[in-house]
Symmetry: C2
Subunit: 258 residues, 2 copies
C-alpha cells in the first residue's frame, strides 16, 4: 500500500510567517501523496475583535454564532487557506484548497444544542475520498481548512484536529496513512513547563494516568482523543510534535501507541 | 465537440439572496460540463467599510492595496465562494471552489504601476485547463472567484469578467464553449434608462457607434471588450443579460456577433 501523510498544523506554526514558511519548505519535500490540514484560531480571534464580535469559548471550544461563522469562513477558507495554497504553488507544490463542502468531501451534522449549544459546529459523519484520490494521483496536494457542510447548504465550523484525524481514518482503506499533529510544543509533556519532559511513546494506560494526574492541558485532551481514535481505526502512525519532525524523524516528538 | 458553459454572475445576482438562489436552481439544471464565475464587489465594499478600509476606484476599477486584497480574499474566496459551493451541494451539484492559485489554474502578472498603480491587480497570462477537465469529466463543477496568483506566492485581484472570458477562451481548444454574462440588466441597452431597448445582436460596428455616442456606461466597456475578445478567440457563443436567459433562450438578451 502506498503511504499517505496527513499533516495538521496549528497554533503558532500558522500565526508566525517565518515558522509557516519553514514548515512549508519541509512539507513540499515530502515524497508521495499528502494532505495538509490547517487551523487558524488566533487569526480568527484577532479579526473578530477588529469587527467587534465577541468570542465565547466553553471548555476551550469556540461557540460559533452566525457572525463568528462568517469570520471563520473568511479567515480560514479565504485568507489563510488561499495564502497557504499560493505559497505552496510558489514552492512548486500543486496545492488545491478545500473545505468539506468542496467536492462534497466532508459531511458533518450540526452538533446537538444539548448539553451545550456550540452554535454552527459540525461533527463529521462522512468523508468522501474519491475526488481527493483522483487529484492526488495527479500530484495535486489538497489543503483543508476546518470547515465542513451538512449537505443542506449550511457550512459548519469543525475542530481541525478532528478533521485531520477523520481524513486519516477514511484514507486508511486506500493507503498506509500517517497522521502528524504539528504545533509549537515538542510533543506531549509530562510537565507542561518542561520541554525536556516529552513522552516518546504514549499508550492508553499512560494517557489515562496523565488524565488522572490532571497534567494534560485542556486543549490537549481533544487532540489526544483524536490521536487514539485514529490509531484505533487503522491509521498506521500518529505523531505529535514540532513541525521539524516531518523532515527529521530523530527530532523528539510523541508517538501514539495502541 | 462537447459543449462547455462558462457562466459569470455579478452585481445584484450575488448580493440578493433570493436572486442568487433562483439563479443557482437554474444553473444546476444545465446539462453537461459548466463553470461558474462570480464577482462580489458590493459585499467586499460593505465589508471594507465595516473595517474602516477606504475603497479607491479609478475608471470604475478598484485599487487593491494590501488591506483591500485581504478583504477581497476573505469576501470572495471565503464568504461568497464557499456559500455558493455549499448551496450548490444542497442542490446536488458537486461544486468545488477555486481561485487561480488552486491547482495553478490561472496565472497572472501584477499590472504595471504605469500609467496607473492599481495595486495588487493581476492580468491573466495563462490558464491551465487539465485539472479542471479531469474534474468536469467526473461531474464536478468548478466555481471560480476572481482571484489569481503570480506563481511566486502573490495572490492578485482580477476582473471577474476577464477571468470568465479567459477561461472560456482557454477551454475553446477542448470544448465548444458558450460564455454567459448574467447581471441585473436585460442586456446591452441602446438607452440605459429603458430596459426595452435591448440590443439583440451586437457586432463590432454597432459597438463602435455606441461607444462614439457615449451611450455605453463605464462599467459596461470592459465587459464588452471581454465579450468581443472571447468571440474573436474561438468561443462559440457570448451572451449578456439577466440570469433567466440560461434557462430560457427566448428571454431577451444581447448576443455578441463577430
Amino acid at each position: 500500500m502506498e503511504t499517505l501523510k496527513v499533516i495538521k498544523i496549528g497554533g503558532q506554526v500558522i500565526d508566525n510567517t517565518s515558522a509557516l514558511n519553514d514548515f512549508l519548505e519541509d512539507f513540499v519535500e515530502l515524497k508521495g501523496p499528502k494532505i495538509l490540514v490547517h487551523g487558524g484560531g488566533v487569526e480568527a480571534t484577532k479579526f473578530a475583535e477588529q469587527l467587534g464580535i465577541e468570542v465565547t469559548k466553553i471548555d476551550g471550544r469556540r461557540v460559533t454564532d452566525a457572525d463568528t461563522l462568517k469570520v471563520i469562513l473568511m479567515t480560514y477558507a479565504g485568507f489563510i487557506n488561499k495564502n497557504i495554497v499560493a505559497l505552496l504553488q510558489a514552492l512548486h507544490c500543486n496545492a488545491l484548497g478545500f473545505t468539506g463542502a468542496d467536492a462534497n468531501t466532508i459531511i458533518s451534522k450540526k452538533r446537538s444544542v444539548i448539553p451545550i449549544d456550540f452554535g454552527f459546529v459540525g461533527d463529521i459523519v462522512q468523508v468522501n475520498t474519491k475526488t481527493l484520490r483522483t487529484l492526488m494521483s495527479q500530484e495535486i496536494t489538497p489543503v483543508f481548512c476546518a470547515i465542513t457542510h451538512d449537505e443542506n447548504g449550511q457550512l459548519l465550523n469543525t475542530n481541525a484536529d478532528t478533521l485531520a484525524s477523520e481524513l486519516a481514518i477514511a484514507f486508511s482503506e486506500h493507503y498506509s496513512t500517517e497522521l502528524y499533529f504539528c504545533f509549537e510544543k515538542s510533543g506531549v509533556l509530562r510537565d507542561v513547563t518542561d520541554e525536556d519532559s516529552v513522552i516518546k511513546e504514549l499508550n492508553p494506560q499512560t494517557y489515562e494516568n496523565l488524565l488522572k494526574s490532571g497534567k494534560v492541558a485542556d486543549g490537549m485532551i481533544p487532540k489526544l482523543d483524536n490521536c487514539f481514535r485514529a490509531i484505533n481505526h487503522k491509521v498506521s502512525q500518529v505523531s505529535i510534535g514540532q513541525p521539524e519532525m516531518i523532515r527529521d524523524t530523530s527530532v523528539r516528538h510523541t508517538k501514539i501507541i495502541k
